[in-house]
């Protein structure tokens, strides 16, 4: 199962640092964690970028999540 690691900001809603999910793509992963954590705000998490195995994706949708994947949510980064 893939490992989802929550930042300290998100831990305020999840109450734990990490969880494991059976989802095999990003959309299912979101459904799975929103179903698991009542307080996790859907609009906030869906606005965030995601890093799957170190690859930062700003607009994730159906990206593959492998059983040994490590997934992080992070704030969208802009620049100058």
């Amino acid at each position: 199962m893939a490992t989802v690691i929550f930042s300290s900001e998100l831990q305020r809603f999840t109450g734990e640092e990490k969880t494991h999910v059976s989802a095999t793509n990003y959309r299912d992963l979101i459904d799975e964690i929103l179903g698991r954590y009542d307080r996790l705000p859907a609009n906030e998490i869906q606005k965030m970028a995601v890093a799957i195995d170190g690859e930062i994706i700003h607009d994730p949708f159906l990206e593959t999540v492998k059983p040994d994947s490590e997934v992080h949510f992070l704030f969208r980064i802009s620049g100058g």
Binding site: I5, S7, S8, E9, R12, K47, A51, G54, E55, I56, I57, H58, D59, E70, H72, F73, L74, F75, R76, I77, S78, G79, G80
Partner: protein, 750 residues
């Protein structure tokens, strides 16, 4: 990039595609367009830093015979607070509108209140005085520390701090709080044998682009608008303008003129929607050009910050804990780069225990804009100064302490993912081996070193390659070229197609000729638009092979594309790109390749800078006498441009460290709104900046590219301030290290 690759064109120092136009003065910038029947727009700006607008009377101005239109906030269709995506980060539509034309409050000196369009520029300027405004003047809040005090005047009665455990019951100037942590910070400090803790300050600074904001806007009777402007992102100018004025995207065409510098400051709008209102009301094309003074007073500078850093380490230099409190000024509306500041502050270090808290705070200054690696120079200045102090305290070489704790592949960042292959260690080794680091210093001289990190980003890019019947091609891209990207795009297309770069012309297309492309920023263009051009070129190559296969009556799988030539593997036939294009009408029509992508996998870039200074101890004047900028480019597509980015970042950072700052009087009025008094470095102020390009390929890019445009401004602040501290034997914690401040430090110490 998974394996080493030999390149034919990439890595060449070709002549830049925009070079002739720029050196001959032919290049057309935003202020260069004039249209038949055009009139001029001017902005009335607030004389107060903080005031309530009690009434606005524009009747006398409207009655003036030369005045053809007047605009105020009331001319926007209904605007409500709503986050929308225009540019790389979400923007509050209401804040954007109120920054363009103030509603019921002015929030900084120079805040736009009304606009006039008149037959001549001087008539528009003169008519501004006919607008009558009653104000209730309020006390200004000019510093982040003051703004955070509970008793501070509040800029926005409806702003409640976001990011706290519970929503506060009282409005304040703190827009948001953010916290990042890993490990156990208390355990980390308990393990430490030495602790360094100190406060740092960086001032409000401007990007200092040479070309002021300018636009010419026209709108036809059928509601079709054309906007010509100076921008880093014309598609996002279109999005902002359409959203603010409730127009369809297809009704607005935006043309990005040649740009005279942006550095993040041209990623939002100041004039374009206002000019469109004036054009619509007057029925004429409207031109607006900011003065330099307006650029300083009313466009987005870089945030001022106050930071506190605490670092604990063992005597052997192993860092056990890093803690930061970072307070960023947002200017008049929420939205400073506090977030990336928190995410970057300690990223050069592989340390188990970190705790970072950040605050986004409004003050009575212009709303800040992005400035080259937004948030990182301020945050990493504080961290790097503390690291250098720690090295001093432990008697360890500043490179060695960094090598001992350096981030590398596998390092868990505090903001999320583990790092892939990165080049910080290689940069540190290059610094150690550099001629500068091994040279001796003379009396009154000092040396400083600092590291820097920036993420770099990807995002949406669209490219079309149109091949011509003679085998030459035109590359249409949607990324305004602010740092040489046309040259790198041209080289990448040439490499993939096997066609000489000089046969391919890169063009920045307007919003009607290409699908959406994200704003040029975040060091994304050579990376992301580069990926798009590679994909578009592959599309062309696929068609080349199909056309050759049709000529030879074989399958396209039997055709190989080698060095710009189709080879029939089932025979001995060959066709060049020019031959295939020349016969295209017989094999299915002309050939175009397209790519519309959302690039991912941007590779971060680390840098290490070395600075030597000499200080005149009688005046406090600092001269940079030697400087080396070392940075990981992943793969340098056009090395001259990469070196130019390193040198440009260093020069801007040196200016930030030595002289640049907004100076305000007690009424909140900026007193140095011009380049005479706001001192950016001149060529004569700086030595030749030596560069070292480190190449650790980004595994997610076909050619290994990392963005290079922003990281170079991160290390100079601490490198310079450390060098000054070393020369005068006093630790400088506040920027800029200007002559008065350095002299005071010397005198105080003596």
């Amino acid at each position: 990039m998974s394996e080493a690759r030999e390149f034919k064109y990439i890595g060449q120092r070709t002549i830049r595609p925009d070079g002739y136009d720029k050196v001959t003065g032919r290049a057309n910038y935003a202020a260069d367009l004039s249209l038949p029947g055009m009139i001029w727009g001017k902005i009335l700006r607030s004389p107060h830093a903080h005031a309530r607008i009690l009434s606005i009377d524009t009747s006398k101005a409207e009655a003036h015979p030369d005045v053809m239109a007047v605009a105020t906030y009331q001319d926007f269709p209904h605007v409500s607070s709503e986050m929308f995506q225009a540019g790389e980060t979400p923007t509050d539509l209401l804040d954007l509108a109120r920054n363009l034309l103030a509603d019921d409050k002015v929030l900084y000196h120079g805040h736009a209140i009304a606009a006039i369009a008149a037959r001549t520029e001087s008539a528009a300027e003169a008519a501004l005085s006919l607008i009558e405004i009653d104000y209730e003047v309020l006390p200004p809040v000019m510093d982040v520390a003051d703004a955070m005090k509970p008793e501070s005047p509040v800029l926005h009665d409806d702003m409640f701090t976001v990011g706290l455990a519970e929503k506060p019951d009282k409005a304040s100037n703190i827009a948001s709080r953010m916290e990042l942590k890993k490990g156990d910070i208390e355990a980390g400090f308990a393990e430490a044998e030495v602790v360094v803790e100190r406060d740092y300050y960086t001032p409000t600074v401007h990007q200092g682009y040479i070309e002021p904001h300018a636009t010419t806007v026209s709108i036809d009777e059928d509601g079709q608008a054309m906007v010509w402007c100076s921008t880093q992102g014309h598609f996002d100018v279109r999005a902002s303008t359409a959203k603010l004025l409730d127009m369809e995207l297809g009704k607005i065409k935006v043309v990005a003129a040649e740009i005279g510098g942006g550095f993040g400051g041209k990623t939002t709008v100041y004039l374009e929607p206002v000019a469109l209102i004036l054009s619509r009301k007057s029925g004429r094309p409207v031109k607006m050009v900011m003065t330099r003074e307006e650029v300083f007073r009313a466009t987005g500078p870089g945030s001022a910050t106050r930071s506190r850093i605490k670092i604990g380490a063992k005597k052997d230099g192993t860092i056990t804990a890093m803690q930061a409190k970072l307070c960023f000024e947002a200017g008049s509306f929420k939205g400073s780069p506090m977030g990336p500041g928190c995410m970057t502050v300690f990223t050069p270090y592989d340390v188990e225990n970190m705790y970072i808290e950040g605050y986004d705070v409004v003050v009575n200054k212009p709303k800040v804009a992005a400035y080259r690696a937004p948030g990182a120079p301020q945050a990493e200045f504080a961290a790097e100064m503390a690291i250098n102090e720690l090295a001093d305290k432990l008697g360890i070489d500043p490179i060695e302490i960094r090598l001992k704790n350096a981030a590398k592949e596998g390092t868990q960042t505090v903001y999320g993912p583990k790092l892939k292959a990165v080049g910080l260690v290689e940069c540190l080794e290059a610094a150690k081996n550099s001629a500068q680091y091994q040279s001796a210093l003379d009396e009154n001289q000092g040396r400083g070193l600092a590291a820097g990190f920036w993420f770099n980003i990807g995002g949406q890019s669209s490219v079309i390659i149109n091949m011509n019947p003679d085998g030459t091609g035109t590359i249409l891209e949607g990324s305004p070229d602010i740092g040489g990207s046309r040259a790198s795009i041209q080289l990448m297309a040439a490499e993939e197609l096997g066609i000489p770069p000089s046969h391919l012309k890169p063009v920045v297309a307007d919003t009607e000729h290409l699908a959406y492309s994200a704003t040029t920023g975040g060091s994304r263009t050579t990376f992301a638009t580069g990926m798009a051009v590679i994909e578009a070129a592959q599309d062309v190559v696929r068609q080349f092979k199909e056309r050759a296969a049709a000529v030879w009556n074989v399958t396209s799988e039997q055709v190989e594309w080698v060095d710009g030539v189709a080879i029939n593997t089932a025979g001995e036939d060959k066709l060049t790109a020019a031959e295939i294009c020349r016969g295209a009408e017989k094999t299915g029509g002309q050939i175009s390749g397209t790519a519309n992508i959302n690039a991912r996998g941007a590779g971060p870039s680390f840098a290490v800078h070395l600075c030597d200074v000499e200080v005149d101890k009688e005046t406090g004047k600092v001269d940079v006498i030697r400087y080396t900028a070392i940075q990981d480019a992943g793969k340098a597509i056009h090395p001259s441009y990469v070196e130019g980015q390193y040198q440009g970042g260093a020069a801007q950072g040196i200016g930030w460290a030595l002289n640049e700052e907004y100076i305000y009087n007690e009424d909140g009025i900026m007193e140095n709104a011009g380049f005479l008094d706001y001192r950016i470095p001149l060529a004569s102020d700086l030595p030749m900046i030596d560069t070292v390009i480190v190449e650790v390929p980004n595994p997610f890019h076909p050619f290994g590219v990392r963005g290079v445009g922003e990281t170079g401004i991160v290390p100079p602040l601490a490198a310079v301030a450390t060098a000054v501290s070393d020369a005068i034997d006093v630790r400088m914690t506040d920027l800029p290290c200007s002559p008065p401040r350095v002299l005071k430090a010397i005198l105080d110490a003596s």
